[in-house]
């Protein structure tokens, strides 16, 4: 219980020496970088487990605190039920077990996105008239002797959304786009550990917000300077039965962003 601050968790893990060095020098370079929040979990770059943060990161987190106001912030959390059924609902300690929230059927399972504040919550599913818990997710025995599912909503999960929000608000400032994101950089290959599961995908690199596509422009010629960074990216838009696929190609030193309109 009580896993509020991940910053302290970094002390639990050893072998931080080389990381502090790299982040130490990082500290000197960019104390005011807008890239501050743009790494989701900096631990993605190191092999020391999901909960540790380099001590050098500490100075960046005050900015994060400014963004996330003190007090429980409710953020969208995905709840999934894969056990079949026709009608699936959820209730939990987050709504005092008062109402049953319906889950939406999505292919083979049921999904709901709930705004849960940070902390620990118990919940249970109401499937076709019966209260059941999800055996594949963490469980806890409640004081009444019933088995409920348990979910820990962590602050570190929220940083992703703050980062993306900051990025899209400040995307007009391109002055720092050429610098590398903060974080420890090393020679070790990233080893994927199946037990690490991140609740959200990595955030969009900020330079992809600068594409010629999303600019409100009436002219077809533009002078954005970072063409080469989005050469291998395909953008997709689906609207009104029309699919638009877009990619940027380079021909010698010229770049053309093509948009293909196809009916679906």
């Amino acid at each position: 219980m009580g896993n509020t601050s991940d910053r302290m968790a970094g002390d639990r893990h050893g072998a931080k020496a080389h990381r502090s060095d790299s982040s130490g020098s990082h500290k000197d370079q960019e104390p005011s970088s807008k890239m501050v929040d743009s790494t989701d979990d900096p631990n993605i770059f190191n092999t020391h487990g999901p909960e540790s943060k380099a001590s050098g990161e500490k100075e960046f987190t005050p900015d994060l605190d400014d963004l996330v106001k003190t007090g429980p912030q409710a953020r969208p959390t995905v709840i999934r039920w894969g056990g079949g059924g026709r009608e699936v609902y959820i209730a939990g300690s987050f709504n005092n077990w008062s109402t049953k929230i319906p889950l939406n059927k999505s292919h083979n399972d049921f999904v709901a996105i709930l705004d849960l504040p940070e902390g620990e919550h118990q919940y249970k599913f109401f499937v076709d008239g019966q209260w059941v818990h999800d055996a594949s997710e963490p469980i806890v025995t409640s004081q009444l002797g019933t088995i409920n599912n348990l979910i820990q909503v962590k602050k570190s999960d929220f940083e992703v959304f703050d980062a993306l929000q900051v990025d899209s608000l400040d995307s007009s400032d391109t002055s720092d786009l050429s610098s590398s994101p903060p974080g420890p950089y090393g020679q070790e290959q990233y080893i994927f550990r199946p037990e690490e599961h991140f609740k959200a995908p990595p955030i969009l690199p900020p330079h992809l917000l600068q594409v010629i596509l999303n600019k409100d422009t009436n002219i077809s010629v533009s002078f954005c300077s970072l063409f080469h960074v989005y050469l291998c990216v395909v953008f997709l838009s689906l609207q009104d039965g029309v699919m638009v696929l877009s990619a940027t190609h380079r021909y010698k030193k010229k770049y053309v962003t093509s948009l293909l309109y196809k009916p679906i």
Binding site: I212, N218, V221, Y251, K254, Y255, V256, Y261, P263
Partner: protein, 354 residues
């Protein structure tokens, strides 16, 4: 030493192969790239623009970064026209997914032709505009003519590009990379003039630019297509279709020019969803134009070529209306006329009028 019969035959064989390769490229890069020199007695500046265009290729005129909209031929025409407006582009290459190649272009001319052919009344939706796919429209429109995509490669000279634009009487020329088959850019008269205007400062201005427009007679001065203020938008579309002009001076009863209605203004009907009321008068159509135009871009017979070229380049228009002191229409000076006169005619090539 006597050469063997085999040796004397081989050169002929090689020559045949080379000739056929030249034929394949003949369509694209038709003209030799050596500079033309004036012979005795002619103005030494005659070939300045001709040589400039021969010495630069289409690749040079392509912007560093640009956007290109492409439509699959199975897309509905109405969605295609709205997509043109939404993206702020005027033309789009068409991709046929069965043939796996580009087969044509969709431009405002297609929009004009569809409206003209199928419009019945303000009360009736234009069914064909609502329901047709691009491929259905092309089948109907092209049934009496052979259509192949006119394009150019990036290494062809700008001289070749100008020739192709003027000879084929088109305003959009796709530049296609022969290796990948990708469209890189849609080249236009305006883009070429802009390129010339930017780099033209590198060489001294030819003296003939100081000649007056009425001396050099560049432009159209007879049978100018115009439209009355009181005529309907549908009448204007009819003139666009029949006369194949790109803009119409809108005149009052005295022949005085009040505004200029170009093909581009027709796509505005799509932007404002007004395309179902083609009975409105030209006066109303001009008034409802979203972008306010200060006045018609005009020129007078006594103005020099240099003034006119500068004015066209700065205003980024395709033509100026030549008027007399009473603002009565006397002629049109367009980019096609200028490029023919300054670039092609010195080389003895007439593309525009042949």
């Amino acid at each position: 030493m006597m050469s063997s019969p085999i040796q004397t035959q081989t050169p002929t064989f090689t020559m045949i192969i080379v000739n056929s390769m030249v034929d394949i490229w003949a369509e694209c890069c038709a003209f030799a790239t050596h500079d033309l020199m004036p012979h005795a007695g002619t103005d030494p500046d005659t070939f300045i623009y001709t040589n400039f265009m021969k010495n630069h290729c289409c690749y040079d005129a392509i912007p560093t970064s640009s956007k290109l909209v492409i439509f699959d031929t199975t897309l509905q025409v109405k969605k295609a026209f709205f997509a043109l407006v939404a993206n702020g582009v005027r033309a789009a290459p068409l991709w046929d997914n069965k043939l796996k190649c580009f087969v044509g272009m969709l431009t405002i001319t297609d929009f004009i032709n569809i409206l003209h052919r199928y419009y019945k009344s303000p009360l009736v939706q234009i069914y064909e505009l609502e329901e047709h796919k691009i491929e259905t429209w092309r089948e109907i429109y092209l049934q009496y003519s052979i259509n192949r995509l006119i394009s150019i490669t990036p290494d062809c000279s700008l001289f070749d590009a100008i020739y192709s634009l003027l000879k084929n009487k088109i305003h959009r020329l796709p530049v296609i990379d022969p290796v990948s088959g990708n469209v890189l850019h849609i080249l236009t008269h305006k883009r070429i003039l802009k390129f010339l205007h930017i780099f033209g400062s590198m060489f001294p201005k030819p003296r003939f630019l100081q000649k007056r427009i009425n001396e050099v007679a560049i432009g159209t001065f007879r049978q100018i297509a115009t439209v009355q203020e009181s005529a309907s938008v549908y009448d204007a579309l009819t003139i666009f279709v029949e006369r194949r002009v790109s803009a119409l001076p809108v005149v009052n009863e005295q022949g005085k020019v009040m505004a200029l209605y170009s093909r581009f203004d027709v796509i505005n009907l799509a932007a404002q969803k007004n395309y179902n009321n083609l009975n409105m008068t030209m006066r109303e159509a001009i008034a409802s134009r979203a972008c306010c135009v200060e006045g018609v871009l005009k020129c007078y017979p006594h103005e020099t070529l240099e003034t006119i070229i500068d004015r066209i380049a700065k205003a980024e228009v395709h033509r100026l209306v030549l008027v007399d002191s009473n603002d009565v229409v006397r002629g049109i000076v367009s980019l096609s006329d200028l490029l023919q006169a300054l670039v092609l005619s010195p080389a003895g090539i007439d593309a525009l009028y042949s």
